[in-house]
């Protein structure tokens, strides 16, 4: 007992808080005063439209995969609000470093649907974004783009540019040293970077409880010396507000931020996965009640900002846009095989010229 008392006398030298942000309840009702941008009806509708486009695009992409016209694909089902909300708060000159499930952010930033299809269809040209030319391509090795984000932000800071790097990854990535090393460095140099962990509860089949003993992922920012906030990732208003605040702070020289977006992966990990192997239909069904699109729709309808006719028109528009993109994707012929050498180096070294000729059949011709 004596030692317990002695311990109580030890001073607390640091305390940390993790806050949770939410505005819209699952039924679309409001939990607390909305952020200023919520009075911009056009923006709210744009967010809604973008999430719907993503969902319909995903549906089509899966159909293409199931019919052998697309490779493995990762849907965003249930977590559309995260990537759309984050991207909507970025400026054009900012740089996005996405993971492979962040189509929503890329589309918002101007990457063409057919480019995304090209990538998942197995063509590197899909990463030659015609839109945000400085954005990074999808990162496949989980979390390994986090150090890049720190490097990009360092370049911004060195050149005194008011730009922000925004790095998206999943809950699984927070278990990797890459993410911690990047956050730690960003903290040391107060870099203009925002790290976003999309906590969709599952890293393929591994649930969050086997990923970490932490109560939140947001608190991982504490170890790197900056603020982490937990956000309802199914509330696009909360995502947008948190992103806006974090990105503005980063741009204003106040250093990095970390956002944990709590959501749920309603779909399989990818088209190659069968989530029924590791989680129950009941669990997924329960989570459908919280999904982000119905939630925002309820709010918009309640505010008389959205109608059934709008919904029908949007679906038709999205489908038309998706179909047109699919057509362009399917009409894109594969590159000539020897072009696999063409972007290996700035100039193909002499040593490999013969291999290129060999592949092109030019030697035999």
């Amino acid at each position: 007992m004596a030692s317990k008392r002695a311990n109580q006398e030890l001073p607390v030298i640091a305390r940390f808080d993790v806050r949770h942000r939410n505005y819209l309840a699952p039924d679309g009702s409001i939990n607390r005063p909305l952020p200023a941008f919520a009075s911009d009806a056009r923006l709210l509708v744009a967010l809604y439209r973008s999430m719907m486009l993503l969902r319909l695009f995903d549906r089509k992409a899966v159909a293409l995969q199931r019919t052998g016209r697309l490779g493995t694909y990762a849907v965003s089902l249930g977590q559309e609000a995260v990537s759309v909300g984050i991207a909507s708060a970025m400026q054009e000159e900012d740089v996005l470093l996405p993971s492979y499930r962040d189509n929503g952010a890329l589309i918002w930033r101007g990457v063409k649907l057919e480019e995304i299809l090209l990538f998942w269809g197995g063509d590197e040209r899909g990463n030659h974004f015609s839109g945000p030319v400085h954005d990074f391509p999808f990162c496949v090795p989980v979390g390994s783009q986090a150090p890049h984000a720190a490097g990009v932000a360092y370049a911004f800071k060195l050149r005194n540019e008011p730009r922000v790097a925004v790095c998206l990854f999943g809950d699984g990535a927070t278990s990797k040293g890459d993410v911690y090393e990047a956050m730690n460095f960003a903290g040391v140099h107060r870099l203009p970077v925002v790290f976003v962990a999309t906590n969709n509860q599952w890293a393929i089949s591994v649930p969050l409880r086997l990923q970490t003993a932490c109560e939140t992922l947001a608190q991982k920012a504490v170890a790197a010396g900056f603020t982490g906030e937990q956000v309802d990732g199914n509330d696009v208003l909360a995502m947008r507000a948190a992103a806006e605040e974090a990105i503005t702070a980063a741009r204003d020289g106040k250093g990095p931020r970390f956002i944990e977006a709590v959501t749920y992966r309603l779909g399989d990990h990818t088209t190659s996965d069968d989530a029924l192997r590791y989680r129950s239909t009941d669990e997924v069904q329960a989570r459908w009640k919280e999904e982000p699109i119905a939630r925002l729709r309820s709010y918009l309808v309640g505010q008389k900002l959205w109608s059934k006719a709008d919904e029908e028109q949007l679906a038709a528009e999205c489908n038309e846009r998706v179909e047109a993109a699919v057509e362009r994707y399917l009409a894109t012929a594969p590159r000539p095989p020897e072009t696999m050498f063409d972007h290996l180096y700035a100039n193909l070294p002499e040593a490999y010229a013969a291999q290129r000729h060999e592949l092109a059949g030019e030697r035999d011709a």
């Binding site: 990463n127 390994s144 720190a150 060195l158 290996l344 180096y345």
Partner: protein, 326 residues
Amino acid sequence: MPEMTLVEALNLALARAMEDDPSVVVLGEDVGLNGGVFRATVGLEKRFGSERVLDTPLAELLISGLCVGMAAQGLKPVGEIQFMGFVYPCLDQLVNHASRMRNRTQGRLTCPMVLRTPHGAGIRAPEHHSESTEAMLAHIPGLRVVMPSSPESAYGLLLAAIRDPDPVVFLEPTRLYRAAKGEVEDNGEALPLDHAFVLRDGRDITMISWGAALKETAAAADALSAEGVLAEVVDLATLKPYDEETVLSSVAKTGRCLIVHEAARTGGFGAEIAATVAEHGLTSLLAPVTRVTGYDTIVPMARLEQHYMPSVDRIVTAARKLCQFG
């Protein structure tokens, strides 16, 4: 021209590159005030500021990953890894990102970075400080792997590596850092990459090596010349992509090919050269292509490392055998 050590020549090249190009950034552990554990970056922080010469946290993966991010944003990062034994956390970044950024974005983003690290044994260093795993790196498409062997080539090749628009792993022969001395003019002139250098003309045997092992190879050539054997010594300098033409034309002249490297034999880069000579130079051969290398063991710690590295004796013996073949 002033005489200097190899590490001083590296320092001179770094300073020149930073002076010429404000986008060059040097980063690594202890590279700032301390000037690097081998002093390759000494004085740079004072001259160019701590924003361009930055001490990173102790995290090698981070150093390589930062380089990728910086390079994609138009900087020219030169990262330092303190010893080759610590380079492995960087492999993910080198294989998955640095080497393929240009290709996977079809030229939209590029990765003009340099990752410097000491290479090889021979300084009685602690465990994990003496590896020579260059073949692993030379296997990665999209990378360049470069290794100087003298103060002059250290200066010229490092400048070339920094100016190159693609990622370069720059391997520095640790035991030559201070042992190799030579005249270097700070004229800002780079040496060509992807180019092997004939250090010594000969007619009887081609001896190909790179990095520190060239020291013993050159000494072996001296010993052989006393016996009337004129060895041609080729410094490969760039391992990836390597200059097949210089190797093949030398072998075509001498008819004998001896490859010397410190790295373990199996899967070493010598195997690649031997394969090239077998494929394209077989008819000029008067004797089997032969390798003198480190053994297929873990590189031993200080007490035995001299027995591991190719010695002048081993090279001379192998060369004699080739010259007496048939």
